[in-house]
Symmetry: C2
Subunit: 399 residues, 2 copies
């Protein structure tokens, strides 16, 4: 009757959970052990079952994972940082190999989908995109990867980039990116015309990096919300980072959150360590869709990260002052369901009919898993355990 | 010639490292593989060797590790929090068993020494202290545990506590604690007279919890520094948390740091997630001894933590904006050598003559280990591997 049964687990609230799989999907999910002949029974040893993790923001073309460790080099300006990045990556292994190593590492932690930004501009062209697309192809069916054409060096101020963004979307990037329309391009309407124009013409989604500070950042968010409403892209636009929401008074957060919720603009935060970031609680209360991702992982921008979205959920909670079980579950939701919705992943979740993909970790419930981040993971994809026993992921740096 | 040789590791800078052990101490440490007959050779598989971790601030009597998971309960005031803690711990397994479970978990991550605060006051008496001392005895020779008699409910304002603190030090607490002399006791000189009085009379060290805000906290730090100078306790006084140092202008930090450095008062920070905390870089530059610890772990105060001091070093770096390899090594030092010095652990370090105790983790160097926090640990104590292979610690909650 079932292809495989997973017994002796607990659900996110710590209650007994058994799972039955047929044709790669959950056929039974509940406190009662499923009856019926089964070829295979896997004892999950009391572990908690979590949905596969969704990394809502990663840069697969930038990481040194898959290459040797590169010590971080300080840079005084964005231009210096971009120059250092170009120089360091110029000596590293090819993008496709590094992206492959990072996807492998993230997959070992339990990531099943990600949205990766990929540098696309007039000088880089589609080189990075093609390389990451090659890595994506290798992982098809294991990790779903949505690609964002990311104009790291600006759009208007980097002549020729607009055409490359359009070409990137034609070739397989499902999302058109943007970055700091005012502070980087000095022409907010100019950049947004291009970004929204491509999205409307090609049916693409939008994800804009926004590091602009304070009231300037707030104005940009309101501008993006207004354009989203006007273009009918409700639910298809995200703004990543949006630090400004962590820098302004609560009243400004409230009116901006109302506009974002009304327009259906999602906010991504990775809960950075040493600067202000969006107040997750207030945004969610206002109806804003908030999700999370690892962002940079061991690259020229910073040395942190290992690809683990459970650790990222922990950091979101830690930085947000989330203490209750409900709050810890919000952090987990940001690293699972919220990202899945942004990426548009179908059949996602621990429910009958959903794809039988999950991560079992050694904790009494989901809140404890977020608070304590157990290292060992038992990943199951479409009903098939990836390994015979839980595995502790390695850091894939070359030695 | 050697009892055991550990080959094929790397040092904190990623350079080849081999280690030879005789009589539980390092007899050779270096890039050359030691020659000479050896009963046993262990291949460390290219892992980086780190000193055993030192948790400079933990509360072994408070954690629910060793008991079932207890969801966090919000509390509006300190009194409410203390009441909730008392109620929740009243139904939990005995302190000695929970402390044992938490020490075991921390030891599995590679902790070799800790300073544990233990509630001591007029109502609790020495109950908690005796229980934690029982757990300490069980781990003697594996984890060195220094105990702080901690007046959680105040000293002056909790009649009879002064005598209990003195009794605690007589019975085995090497450190006398204090807490918020002004905001909790309303009598800074009164509390400090008692705390410093006991330390001087009994030859004990001092470690004071200080949550007092802004300029009030700064005044307290200066008061503690002045008393430390006056009492000749240089190097034997620590202030834990000292959030005020993260809240005041740089000039105030500078003059306070100068006073702390001059008096030999150390600062402990656990790099909290959602409030200001001491600026590690500035304090160290001024000569202040700064160390770290996990503080509360899955208890009535907050749900976070798992006992891993490598993860704590990561959080110190993440929250402090430490990006370079040197900075990441500072965070590691705070979780190793800096704590060892505060606790007074002899023969500590990866050098010939030191106790042959270390943690091998799967990373190309120490900076990468701090940035990526590999889950699997291979702990060696006095030359003896704790396990045949690396182990990924579990969370010791009851199911």
């Amino acid at each position: 009757m079932f292809d495989r049964v997973f017994i002796n687990a607990v659900d996110r609230n710590g209650r007994p959970l058994h799972l039955a799989v047929r044709d790669g999907r959950f056929a039974a999910v509940g406190a009662e052990r499923p009856e019926g002949a089964t070829a295979d029974t896997v004892d999950l040893g009391g572990r908690v079952v979590l949905p596969g993790f969704v990394d809502g923001h990663i840069h697969l073309d930038k990481s040194f994972v898959g290459d040797r460790w590169h010590p971080h080099e300080p840079a005084a300006t964005l231009r210096e940082r971009l120059a250092a990045e170009k120089r360091l990556l110029g000596t590293a292994r090819p993008i496709a190999e590094r992206a492959d190593a990072l996807i492998a590492q993230a997959a070992a932690f339990g990531t099943v989908a990600m949205r990766s930004h990929v540098d696309v501009d007039a000088t880089t062209g589609l080189t990075n995109l093609h390389a990451v697309m090659a890595a994506r192809e290798k992982w098809r069916g294991i990790v779903d990867i949505e690609l964002v054409a990311f104009p790291q060096a600006g759009v208007v101020s980097c002549a020729g980039t607009a055409d490359m963004l359009d070409a990137a979307v034609r070739e397989g990037a499902g999302v058109v990116g943007g970055i700091d329309p005012t502070t980087l391009d000095g022409d907010a309407d100019g950049q947004l015309d291009i970004v929204f124009g491509i999205a409307e013409k090609r049916g693409a989604k939008i994800d804009i990096h926004l590091h602009e500070p304070g009231q300037q950042g707030i104005e940009q968010l309101l501008r993006i919300a207004a354009r989203t409403r006007a273009s009918g892209l409700h639910g298809r636009v995200a703004v990543s980072h949006a630090y400004a929401l962590g820098e302004v008074p609560a009243d400004d957060v409230a009116r901006t959150a109302a506009a974002l919720a009304d327009a259906g603009v999602a906010i991504l935060t990775n809960a950075p360590g040493d600067c202000a970031f969006p107040p997750v609680r207030q945004l969610r209360a206002a109806g804003v869709h908030v999700f999370t991702g690892n962002d940079n992982i061991g690259d020229a921008w910073w040395p942190y990260g290992n690809g683990d979205m459970l650790q990222r959920a922990n950091l979101v909670g830690y930085r947000s002052g989330f203490y209750t079980d409900d709050e810890l579950n919000v952090a987990l939701e940001m690293a699972t369901h919220a990202g899945a919705r942004v990426i548009g992943k179908d059949g996602y979740g621990i429910e009958v009919g959903c794809e039988a993909t999950f991560v079992a970790v050694d904790a009494p419930n989901a809140a404890a898993a977020v608070a304590g981040v157990p290292g060992a993971r038992w990943v199951v994809r479409r009903g098939v355990p990836a390994t015979d026993a839980p595995v502790t992921p390695r850091l894939n740096f070359l030695r």
